[in-house]
Symmetry: C2
Subunit: 195 residues, 2 copies
DNA sequence: TTGAAAAACTAACTATATTAGTTTATATTA
DNA sequence: TAATATAAACTAATATAGTTAGTTTTTCAA
């Protein structure tokens, strides 16, 4: 009946991520997680710090997977091609992991160093991709905020089903990224070296 | 003790919106709402269809306020100026009503005609603002999706505190909108008539 | 004035998170 | 190997939320 289920924190996080992606973030409860793992819910407290703790771990896990996905997609590429690949990978990640992606932006970041580190990892990667457009420091900050906004907004709206069906959303995403890049080029006096 | 509290659906929605904005969307519970209104929670069922029903009503109410805000801000303006004003008003609304704004994208839209109508209202307004750029039908759809993505992403990230402090976010928002407009101009072969 | 409808209530049930305290399996150490 | 300590599971119990059923009470209309 209870000969040690052999759980650990990582197993819990993986199982919770599955629930989040399969059934939605609302269904990630300790009761559901315990049931899936064949254990009583108080037992989970041996590995996580309650539901809030689990959510924090989910956010970090999601950010790490997201970072890995966009790093793999854009690695080796430069200029516009790298930005397109990153953007596509970002949105694809949100499509494949709708629940996990959502957790990424749900947790408050008060003094959670793991979460901050994982967040910064993604941020740093995006900054790197924008360096080829030779923006000044301020322009670079605007551009990072802008690119993140655009990708997150697109991913979130698509996941909520806020876009109708008719037209392929991949085309819309590429259109949006091109428009953004074209905007950067036409706004900055710099000639840019992208591509 | 209980001589008719004189509640109605609208009162409930307003009170729930206040909780959402003051304490966050997680704190919008029937228990908290009932306590604020000086009533027992089962009494709320005389006016709303449970928590899910309340959330739907909140979403509609949020969309209507949002629509009113962006309509007021962009009314009478044309071209780029109208787009800037609408974008600013959109993000300002999310700043003033963080909880209520969040509810607008939380409810599932399955056959809720009120919600669909309110959503469409916002959509129609945005489409109208983009007409001056003389895009073809497909381009217009991409542009609407793009502008919504960018505004929602910006509002959501800012509300989550995902942007650091250093640089004023209003400047970033204007930068993003200009970049988007410049991108549309430079991408389309059309000359555009915006401003 | 009487009766119907609506709005509040109490009571009860389910589900969840969480804490406290207990048992038991595993690992460490004498 | 045997004893013991640690960690992982458990049961039991509490608090809070949502919800339903059924009851009382107010209000409005006939």
């Amino acid at each position: 009946m209870s000969p040690r289920a052999g759980l650990d924190t990582h197993t819990l996080v993986l199982a919770a991520a599955e629930i989040a992606d399969e059934q939605g973030i609302e269904e990630v409860t300790l009761a559901a997680l315990a049931a899936r793992l064949g254990v009583r819910s108080p037992s989970l407290y041996n590995h996580i710090n309650g539901l809030q703790g689990l959510r924090s771990l989910l956010a970090v896990h999601g950010l790490e997977l997201l970072n890995a996905a966009i790093a793999a997609a854009s690695g080796g590429l430069k200029g516009d091609a790298a930005v397109y690949a990153m953007g596509q990978a970002y949105v694809d990640f949100a499509r494949k992991h709708p629940g996990l992606y959502e957790t990424t932006l749900r947790a408050p970041e008060e003094g959670n160093s793991e979460l901050e580190r994982a967040s910064e990892q993604v941020l740093t990667l995006i900054i790197g991709l924008l360096s080829c457009y030779e923006l000044d420091a301020e322009g670079e900050l605007h551009a990072v905020r802008g690119l993140r906004s655009l990708l997150h907004g697109f991913a979130a709206l698509e996941n909520k089903g806020a876009f109708g069906m008719p037209l392929d959303t991949n085309i819309s995403l590429n259109w949006l990224i091109s428009t953004f890049i074209a905007g950067i080029r036409s706004m900055s006096s710099s000639t840019g070296t992208g591509q």
